[in-house]
Point group: C2
Chain length 260, copies 2
């Protein structure tokens, strides 16, 4: 099977223009099929404040009310997505920026209200990823650049970028040998926060459980790792987590944390 590299970049990379430019340059030189999935970054919060849209949290989780949905549609789907594409074009990479509604790419279900009403948040539907459309774009030599927005019944929905990367990787595994690369501002999964020499070079599920029982894994990392194990179970060839400056080394396995 042909290889497909799916690279997810987090908000901290988006927020740092130089770091983003370095990543986009190395991403552009990757040969073959590839996709980029980006998170939101602080710019949405900053523009939200200027618009008088106050972040609304319940139990530490942000609620996507109507003004917030409009904000993330503008910032994720417009400002960030289109600028990333324009910068990729400058690097010679033929990006095409997409939200979940574009080409019916990511169909979701609006999250049911249980204890908390998360508002306009989408959980990706089973068979919700339009692999035929995405494969068609890849065959045209295009590089999909995906904003963290899904949709349902004519309405856009806010969806976590890690989850989108994970679900796209799983779905595309039926046609490609998929490498899923989570790029962020750390060199990988660390046993001790802020201690780069405690890098875990490879991690399996037993190791993950042990680390969790030692409280050695940060809150933000847990869903990322759970996503990673889920991706491997569903046929993704390789999942690596590491620093955005090490894209090539993450793909060839010489840096970062490889999930087993």
């Amino acid at each position: 099977m042909e290889v497909l590299n799916i690279v997810k970049i987090g908000g901290n990379i988006i927020d740092d223009s130089k770091s983003l430019d370095r990543l986009l340059q190395s991403f552009s030189t990757l040969e073959g099929n590839k996709m980029l999935i980006h998170g939101g970054g602080k710019i949405a919060t900053e523009i939200g404040f200027r618009l008088g849209i106050e972040p609304n949290y319940v139990d530490g989780r942000r609620i996507t009310d109507q003004p917030t949905l409009e904000l993330v549609t503008m910032v994720y789907g417009g400002l960030i997505n289109k600028n990333v594409v324009a910068r990729l074009q400058k690097c010679g990479c033929n990006g095409i920026g997409l939200s979940g509604a574009d080409g019916c790419m990511i169909q979701a279900v609006k999250r049911k209200v249980k204890d908390v009403d998360f508002g306009f948040v989408g959980d990706i539907a089973s068979d919700g990823i339009n692999t035929v459309m995405l494969s068609g774009l890849l065959r045209m030599g295009l590089t999909p650049v995906i904003a963290p927005l899904s949709f349902s019944k004519g309405v856009l929905l806010n969806t976590n970028a890690d989850t989108i990367a994970n679900e796209v990787a799983k779905a595309m595994s039926s046609d490609f040998s998929v490498n899923l690369i989570y790029c962020f501002e750390q060199i990988g999964v660390l046993k001790e926060l802020c201690n780069p020499s405690s890098l875990i070079k490879s991690l399996d599920e037993d190791g993950f459980k042990t680390l969790q029982s030692m409280n050695a894994i940060t809150k933000g990392m847990i869903p990322k790792l759970e996503n990673a194990f889920s991706a491997l179970h569903f046929g993704v060839a390789k999942v690596v987590i590491g620093h955005a400056d090490h894209l090539y080394e993450l793909i060839n396995g010489t840096k970062g944390t490889t999930i087993l």
Copy 2:
């Protein structure tokens, strides 16, 4: 040659949710190849005011400074474009929202500073429309939904939606029999403003010059008509101008103003 219907909708349609919904529903039922090109609307100005971005005019023409470019990237490329696509998907039309940078679709040249520095405004380059990419999307059964943004050298640029519609129509005429339909809030070109019974059913260049000499044509209509004649010269099969509620009738020539 296969037919391609290119429909341009103006800002007043974008601003009126019910009018927009009616247009999107009738557009969705058009069979065969089609594209939608949308303008900006008042919402960009309104959000700009909330963000403290004051409109900056020189000689009655708006200047696109850096904050304004970010504003239109968010609003045209994000908020409007993605919501139009989501609403089309609900109507069963497989839209894919694009800015000029996406798939290297619209390459432009940043307007040279002469008397006025228009800022980040793009004039579409000769051979600037990527017809291969657009034809590829149409063959995949996708309907391009185009925001009024072009790009050059990694930077997005603000470009008039009428001009984009015109240039896309001309470029696509090498592969398709193109109908170019300008939809707005009036029933067509009127001899007397606000008098619907003064509708001009068909207009050639001589008629246009006569009307201009009588000052019977509004300022906003002149570039639209000049665009329309230019499109016909470059092989576009049909250009019609009329009300967004009359999409089918405009295409079959029973309503609106047909440009000859």
